[in-house]
């Protein structure tokens, strides 16, 4: 009598690497957009409340288009809503950076700035990639994210070089969030597999450009780039911080309470 084998795969990725790849790009934007939407009605000044909502709308809009595309490529009949509301946290593929809670306004701005700087470089490269639908979505989002970067860079300067309190809060946020930035640039099996399909971006080049851009703004904001080399990764393979589960519990509660219903 033989025992059943318990030796499974090391990873639990989707069968089609392109689906995984699209989910990463989509989930970054859905999760960050959701975080920004938590500010709606609670911003530091009316004008900024409106600005944060605008960015949330852009990001969730891009996520919707990307999730729809992921569902089509997957071919199992899952639409954008099915992917957003009926996947558990371990099936989410966003980077850890974007799921971090809003904290104070400094945490929100630093998180946004670090992501925006990455996003404009990533989308610029993707807008020229070999997958027409993805390239089209990237080109549209790129315009939006360039504006986001202008907005978050401006706030980096204002907070970093504002008052001693704002400087301290912003430096603290930068120090805390820095550990989550490395993950954005580490290629893995999914990146290698999609490269064969004509969908790949040079993450090393993007890392160098990102670093230059971030260092420039951080310097002008009179802040200091963290020296720490502590790295937290795992989001791309579904190993998240505990924050994501709580966010999704709230986000998915109504949809999951009414299985089969449409809205």
């Amino acid at each position: 009598m033989t025992r059943p084998s318990v030796a499974g795969d090391r990873t639990s990725g989707a069968a089609n690497p392109l689906v995984d790849y699209l989910l990463r790009i989509a989930d970054d934007r859905l999760v960050l957009g959701h975080r920004l939407s938590e500010w709606c009605g609670h911003g530091p000044i009316l004008e900024e409340d409106i600005a944060l909502s605008n960015m949330a709308l852009d990001l969730i809009g891009a996520a919707s288009a990307l999730l729809a595309l992921a569902g089509t490529v997957e071919g199992k009949g899952r639409d954008a809503d099915a992917l957003a509301f009926f996947r558990d946290e371990t099936a989410y593929r966003n980077a850890l950076l974007v799921e971090q809670p809003n904290g104070d306004f400094a945490v929100t701005i630093v998180r946004q700035f670090l992501f925006d700087a990455y996003s404009v470089l990533q989308l610029d490269a993707l807008s020229r990639c070999g997958h027409a639908d993805l390239a089209a979505i990237a080109a549209k989002s790129l315009k939006e994210d360039k504006y986001h970067l202008r907005h978050s860079s401006d706030w980096m300067l204002k907070l970093g070089d504002g008052t001693p309190e704002s400087h301290a809060r912003t430096q603290r946020a930068l120090d805390t969030l820095w550990r989550y930035t490395d993950e954005l640039f580490v290629p893995d099996a999914v990146d290698h597999a999609t490269a064969a399909l004509g969908v790949s971006i040079d993450l090393d080049a993007i890392r160098a450009q990102w670093h230059q851009l971030v260092a420039d703004v951080v310097g002008r904001a009179t802040l200091t780039l963290p020296a720490s080399t502590v790295r937290a990764t795992g989001g791309r393979s579904g190993r998240h911080t505990e924050h994501l589960g709580h966010m999704l519990a709230e986000m998915q509660i109504v949809a999951r309470s009414h299985p089969g219903a449409t809205w």
Partner: protein, 96 residues
């Protein structure tokens, strides 16, 4: 009540599409020109209502006083010769 940092007021002018004149849309609070421009964009152009924006510190706007209305504007009302309709053109002539 805690301390309250009030930002200055800026007037926002939007151009609806290329070639049209700029028109006053409203105002926003902002600390500097970049901040005013970004806020104006988010508040007054979020439905694609504008292709161009001007922002001006409200304190820089000089307005005519209501008491000046007579001397300022009435004299413009009786200068019929400033309008093309004042001039007759012979029948059948195409005016360019």
């Amino acid at each position: 009540m805690t301390a309250d940092s009030q930002w200055p007021l800026w007037e926002v002018f939007t151009q609806g599409s290329k070639g049209l004149p700029f028109a006053h849309a409203g105002s926003v609070h902002a600390v500097d020109a970049e901040n005013a421009l970004l806020n104006a964009r988010d508040v007054y152009a979020r439905r694609g209502e504008a292709v161009n924006l001007w922002v001006v510190p409200s304190s820089a706007i000089v307005a005519s006083a209501p008491s000046d209305a007579g001397p300022f504007f009435d004299p413009g009302n009786d200068k019929a010769y400033r309008h093309p309709q004042f001039y007759k053109v012979p029948r059948g002539v195409v005016v360019f």
